[in-house]
C-alpha cells in the first residue's frame, strides 16, 4: 500500500481567484453582454408570444413542407399543437427563444473562430484542446461562474449553453474551410483574388453545407442543455422538468420531457433541411 504523498496544489483556488478577478475587472463587459443577451431573448420571446398560436403552427407546417414533405409539415404542426395542449405553450416559446439566441451568438463567435483556425495552424493547435475541454467538462461546473457573472436567469443559461454548444460549429467551420478542393482554391488564386474575395466568394460558399451541418449540431446541443440550464434559473420547458423532479410529478415530467423531444425533432429536421438546400450545388465534397 502506497499512499499518495501529502502534496496539495491549489489550482481550484487560482481559478476561483481568476473568476473573481474577471467579475470585478470586466464588470462593464459582462453587464453589456447581459444587456444584449437578455434583450435578444426577450425580444424573440415577445415576438413569439405575440404571434397567434394558429399562425405559429401554420408557419411550422409550411417550414416542414418546404424543407421535408407535406406529411412531415403536418406532423410537426401536430407536435406543436400537442405541446400547447399540455399547457406548456409559453414555456415552449421561452425555450425556443433561448435556443435561438444561443445559436445566433454561437454563430457570431463560432464561424469567425473556425475560419481563423483554418488559416492559422498555431491558433488551431491552441484552440483544439480548449474545444475538447469545453465539450467534456461537466456542464454543472461552468454553471457556477455563469451565476457569478450574470446572476440567476436566462442569460446565465445562455452562457452555459454557449460553452457546450459552441465547439461543433467552430470545428466544422474549420474542417469545411480546410476541406475546400485545392484546385478550386488555386483557380480562385489564379484569377488574382484577394484573400478577402477568396474567403467571401469561394471558401465560405464552398464550405457552407458543412458549416450548416455544424449549425444543426450546435442547435441540437443547445437544446440538450435546456434542463441543465434551468438549474441556473432559465425558465421554459427545462424549468418544468426541474419542477417535476423536485415534486416527483411523473405527469408533468413526461409532458415537459416529451415536449423537448418534439422540439428536438422539429428543429433537427428543419435545420437539416436548410443544410440540404445548401448542399444541392455547393461544396466540393460529392
Amino acid at each position: 500500500m502506497g499512499n499518495f504523498p501529502d502534496i496539495r496544489t491549489q489550482i481550484g483556488d487560482y481559478v476561483d481567484q481568476f473568476v473573481s478577478f474577471l467579475d470585478t475587472s470586466l464588470e462593464g463587459f459582462f453587464d453589456f453582454i447581459f444587456f444584449i443577451s437578455s434583450r435578444t431573448i426577450n425580444g424573440i420571446a415577445d415576438f413569439l408570444m405575440w404571434m397567434p398560436w394558429w399562425l405559429f403552427i401554420i408557419l411550422i407546417v409550411l417550414m416542414g413542407w418546404y424543407f421535408k414533405s407535406v406529411v412531415s409539415g403536418v406532423l410537426y404542426g401536430l407536435f406543436i399543437f400537442l405541446i400547447g395542449t399540455f399547457g406548456l405553450w409559453e414555456d415552449m416559446m421561452t425555450t425556443i427563444s433561448i435556443i435561438i439566441t444561443a445559436v445566433i451568438i454561437c454563430l457570431i463567435i463560432g464561424i469567425p473562430l473556425g475560419v481563423w483556425m483554418a488559416f492559422s495552424k498555431g491558433f488551431s493547435t491552441v484552440m483544439r484542446p480548449l474545444l475538447d475541454a469545453m465539450q467534456t467538462m461537466p456542464s454543472f461546473v461552468y454553471l457556477i461562474p455563469a451565476i457569478f457573472f450574470f446572476g440567476l436567469g436566462n442569460v446565465s443559461a445562455i452562457f452555459a449553453t454557449l460553452i457546450y454548444a459552441l465547439p461543433p460549429v467552430i470545428r466544422l467551420t474549420e474542417l469545411a474551410i480546410r476541406g475546400v478542393d485545392k484546385e478550386v482554391i488555386e483557380s480562385a488564386q489564379s484569377f488574382g483574388s484577394s484573400n478577402w474575395q477568396m474567403l467571401k466568394k469561394v471558401q465560405l460558399p464552398q464550405a457552407l453545407p458543412t458549416i450548416m451541418a455544424g449549425v444543426n449540431q450546435t442547435t441540437m446541443m443547445a437544446l440538450a442543455m435546456v434542463v441543465i440550464a434551468s438549474m441556473v434559473g432559465a425558465s421554459g420547458l427545462g424549468e418544468q422538468v426541474l419542477v417535476a423532479i423536485n415534486r416527483i410529478d411523473i405527469a408533468l415530467g413526461f409532458e415537459a420531457g416529451i415536449s423537448i423531444v418534439f422540439l428536438a425533432i422539429i428543429i433537427d429536421r428543419i435545420t437539416n433541411g436548410v443544410a440540404g438546400k445548401f448542399q444541392k450545388h455547393g461544396g466540393a465534397t460529392e
Partner: protein
Amino acid sequence: MTAQIRVENVSKIFGPKPKSVIPMIKEGMSKEGILNKTNHTVGVYNASFEVEKGEVFVIMGLSGSGKSTLIRCFNLLNKPTDGSIYLDGEDIVAFNKNELKKIRQEKIAMVFQHFGLFSHRTILANVEYGLEIRNVSKEERREIAMNNIETVGLKGYEDKYPDELSGGMQQRVGLARALANDPDILLMDEPFSALDPLIRREMQLELLDIQERLQKTIIFITHDVNEAFKLGDRVAVMKNGQVEQVGTPEEIITSPANHYISDFIKDIDRSKVFQAEHIMTRPNALVSLKDGLNVAVKEMKENGISSVFVVNRSRQVEGIVTIDDAIQGIKEKQRLSDVLRHDITVVNQEEYINDLIPKALESQFPLAVVNGENKLIGFILRVHVLSGLVSEEINKSEAYYV
C-alpha cells in the same frame, strides 16, 4: 515571333529550408543526391527555355516529372525557389503582392485538370468570376461572359450548375472562364486528361480552332505524347524535374536528345506528326509548259526518272508527263500540252501523313506537294509515305520511280 516568356534557371524545391539546397543545384548535384542528403524534394531542377508569343508550348512528362510544378511557377501559385521568369521583359518572381495580383487578373489565366470550377456558382457566374474580381461592371461582365460561353459552345447552359454538366462541358466552362479575362497567356494543366478519349480529341481540335482565332500564348501540360505533338508548336520534355529537350515535334522525333526521349516517343503515331513537307522530295527536274516534249524527255533521261511534273510560269502544277507518253508524242509530233496528264493529286505541304496514305494509294502518280501559294515545292512517292512512318532516318535522296 518574339519571346514572351523567358525562363532562366528556375528551380523549385520543397522542404523545410528550400533556399539551402540552391548551392547544391548550382554545383550540379543530382536530385536523388539532394533528397538523400538534405531530405528536400526537387520539383523543378534548373529549367531554362523561352516561349514565343502566340505559340502553343507543350510541356510533356510523366507524372512526378515536375511539369505541374513548373506550370504553377508561371502565375506563382508556386514561387520558384531560385531563378527568374521574365514575362514581357519583367521578372515576375520578384513581383510584390499587388503586381502579382495585377498580372494574374490581366495577363495570365489558367485551366485546371479537374476543372477547378466553383460548384456553388452557375456557369455564367463561374465565367464571370475573373471579371468580378477586377470589379468590371455587372452588364459588361455579363456580356463578355456570354460571348465566351458561346465561343466554347455552351450557349443555353449559362444558368446551369457545374454538377449538371458532363466532364467535357465542365472543361469548356473552365476554358471560357480563363478566356473571359482576355489573358495574353493561357496556362493549361493537363486540361483534357480527365476526359474520355472521344471528348478529348474533340476538345483538342476545338482548342486548335480557338487558338487560330485568338492567337494566345498557350503553355500546355500533358503526359500524352500524341496530344503533345498534335497541339504543340514546340514541345519541352521533362524528366525528374529537368527539361531534357525543347524543340518542334519533328525535331524531337527526328533527333531525340537522349535515350529517355527516344523511348518516350517510341509509341508516337508518326503519321499524325509528320507533314507532307517533311517526307517530300524536292524535285531535281521540272518542266515548264513552254519547254516542249524534247526538254521533258531530256530532263527525264538525265535524272533517270520516268515522269516529270509540268508547271506554269508561276510554278503552279499543270500536270504530269510520263516518259512513254512523251516519246509517243514526239513520234506523233504532238505538243507537250497534248500528252499532259491532269489526273494528279495535289496536296498541301501541311497535310499529315495520316491523310496522305489514302491519296498515295489512289494516285498512280507521285503526289505533288504545294505551298500556301499553290507553288510546287516537292513530290511524294508511295515509298516516302511508308518510310515516313518508320523511325529510321528518312532518305531524302530517293530516286524518282513511279
